[in-house]
């Protein structure tokens, strides 16, 4: 492993060699025993890692956010139930409305001769119904 390869592995995986891929770790450990520049880079990366770890660590949480999230999921579940019921009602309503509209037009179509019209539809004797081909 060259010093450039060692440096790249440090930047990719950090200073904790235990987290490196096995082959790279073995080569890196071998380089460290014989190369002062590698040891200096490792020391510098250890410092960088420690600073990064401290910088990204969030303040201790009190669990309040998790509680809020769980409460919002309860709300979501309730909304889903309402939404599901709403969809069912909407479907039922639209079906009923469609039936009413269809009934109205059928009624209008055969208003002149309701008995004959319906009978013609049932028996297939459409030629007797006025206005139909």
């Amino acid at each position: 492993m060259t010093i450039e390869e060692f440096e790249r592995s440090l930047l990719a995986h950090g200073a904790e060699l235990a987290r490196w891929p096995t082959a790279q770790r073995a080569a890196g450990e071998a380089l460290l025993t014989q190369n002062a520049a590698a040891r200096a880079l490792l020391a510098e990366t250890e410092r960088l890692d420690a600073t990064l770890a401290a910088a990204v660590r969030a303040p201790a949480a009190d669990g309040a956010l998790a509680v809020r999230i769980l409460a919002s999921l309860d709300g979501e579940a309730a909304a889903e139930r309402v939404f599901g019921l709403g969809r069912l009602l909407a479907w039922a309503g639209s079906t009923a409305a469609a039936a009413l509209v269809a009934g109205f037009f059928v009624g209008q179509s055969f208003a002149g001769d309701p008995a004959g019209g319906v009978l013609a539809l049932v028996t297939g004797e459409l030629s007797g119904v006025e206005g139909l081909p």
Binding site: I3, L11, L52, V56, P59, S72
Partner: protein, 216 residues
Amino acid sequence: MDSDDDDTLMARAAAGDRRAFSLLVIRHTDRVRAVALRFTGNAADADDVTQTAFLAAWRELPHWQAGRAKFGTWLYRVAVNRCIDLGRRRRVRAWLSLDAVEEPADDRADAADLAVQRSELDAVRRDIRALPEKQRAALLLAVEAEKSMAEIADALGVSAGAAEQLLVRARRRLRESLRERLREGSVGTPPAEGLDDRGGAPSRGMAGAKRAEERR
């Protein structure tokens, strides 16, 4: 059940076990928020990202297929995408002068801040927020979420090689900033240039590394 792994809990949640999903929320909330906080630099956005990620997971439950994706990776993918989305919206709003350009920082101090000089931490956090989005995400997933290279790649939707490149670039930029501050003396107790803390000989590694970096 508390010791079950994430994917087992997710499978149980998908089967209707609400407590299993609650455990996932409790287990991951702090770390997802920490990643989001350092990505966005804004506490309200971090809360929004965390909540959005779990809401997405909740809505995904009916479609969840065990083994198709790891829950932890999937959750961070959603969170990172939300972070990026919020950042872009903020930039648009700033450009339209609807928001202040400078985002309010989360300035609550904690024990970690006592261990490392506060000003140095602030400087590093600014450096992290200045990284390009994907480099920032890769770094935070590695450092805070302790994800492996493969998991980072999966969360970001890139190859393992690309994820490694993102981390190399991110750490190199942060290292350069740290070196700069050390030179300026704004960071306490710098290590002796070229001398490792195990008593190694003066090194040509820094200059050589810098030259190699400039070549790339």
